[in-house]
């Protein structure tokens, strides 16, 4: 999982789309929420050069869920590791999309420094 090469650019997920956090933050502000969970939204967080990009989606919306699954597949297929947190706060790495995950974090492939 961690060995090897620089991940290529994710098809259809340019840096512009990955770095959407400011928009989501503004959205949350509009609704007076601290985080997407308060709005019943799930989040995919992708580490990138801006810090991170966040994609919030409604897990009850089949179209949004399908898009989130596509994003999961696209990122993991180019070497990103997906991690989720359990309710108890324990972090686990997952290889398959979990539609019930409230928060999934993606980080790029690890290499020796």
């Amino acid at each position: 999982m961690f060995e090897g090469l620089e991940p290529p650019a994710v098809a259809g997920l340019g840096s512009r789309q990955l770095g959407t956090a400011p928009w989501h933050e503004r959205c949350l502000e509009q609704f007076g929420a601290e985080n997407p969970k308060e709005l019943g939204m799930a989040t995919q967080i992708v580490m990138d050069h801006t810090g991170d990009g966040r994609h919030c989606f409604d897990p009850d919306d089949p179209a949004a869920l399908s898009k989130a699954e596509e994003r999961f597949e696209a990122l993991t297929s180019v070497g990103f590791t997906a991690a989720v947190r359990t309710a108890a706060g324990e972090v686990t790495v997952t290889r398959s999309f979990d539609p019930a995950a409230e928060e999934t974090l993606f980080f790029p492939r690890l290499v020796g420094g």
Binding site: M47, H49, G112, G113
Partner: protein, 136 residues
């Protein structure tokens, strides 16, 4: 005479250009500072969200936190930084060896530390397999 007139005409233009150059440079510096601060702050915010309460307390107090390797049960100390910042710790809390592994791409320190934490806590040996050892 002509040279003096030319000087008289061009001197104010030069001064205006110099002033503008200064303003543009200051604006660029301010923008860069703001952008860098924002990036760093976002990375730290994300890291803090994913640390356990004990790790968070340790990080706030000492700018490092300890993790337990998922495979060996060894203790590692992840210091603030984005390279050569992971240390294996013995029972007395002393660093015995350093490990260097980082996520690819230009990530801020908070992101790097979070990726290192998750890797050690979930797939320790795989993370160490790509890492470079360094003496402490």
């Amino acid at each position: 005479m002509i040279a003096q007139q030319l000087l008289t005409v061009t001197r104010p233009i030069g001064r205006i250009l110099a002033e503008w150059a200064c303003k543009v440079r200051a604006l660029c510096d301010r923008h860069r500072e703001f952008f860098e601060d924002t990036r760093e702050a976002r990375g730290i915010k994300l890291l803090r969200e994913w640390l356990s309460p004990e790790q968070l307390a340790q990080f706030d107090a000492k700018r490092y936190f300890d993790v337990i390797g998922s495979d060996s049960g060894k203790r590692y100390r992840i210091r603030y930084g984005s390279a050569t910042n992971v240390y294996e710790i013995d029972g007395d809390g002393r660093s015995t060896v350093g490990w260097c592994f980082v996520p690819t791409g230009y990530l801020v320190a908070g992101d790097v530390m979070l990726a290192q934490k998750i890797a050690l806590e979930t797939h320790e040996f795989r993370a160490l397999a790509v890492a470079n050892r360094f003496p402490v």
